[in-house]
């Protein structure tokens, strides 16, 4: 299976946000993630980078400053 795990950058650490992510779509001012079970997650974040072979998607929060 080729799903990835989504991590959210939090200072120097990465928080595991969602496992087994299948789809990613920009949504309003953030992203909509959906895992392979159909669970949806909306988050005010953007893609920092992703490496599919490592099954890893790195996100960072959007700051409203």
């Amino acid at each position: 299976m080729c799903e990835s795990n989504a991590y959210l950058k939090n200072g120097e650490n990465d928080i595991m946000l969602m496992e087994s992510v299948d789809t990613i779509e920009p949504y309003e001012d953030g992203l909509k993630l959906m895992d392979i079970f159909g669970k949806q997650l909306f988050i005010k974040a953007k893609i920092k980078d992703m490496t599919l072979l490592n099954h890893r998607i790195n996100l960072e929060e959007i700051c409203n400053t």
Copy 2:
């Protein structure tokens, strides 16, 4: 292998832009794609959506209007 193919929306059609994409990173006003062989591609586009289980990344060009 869990790489995906990147398609660029062109009117009603999708153009295959790059096969076997491993990494995606925002880059200046576009994206940097790199395939599993290390070939890099820079494009003024944003992610429209992606479905990892289908190995498909849909991009759309950024219009400078």
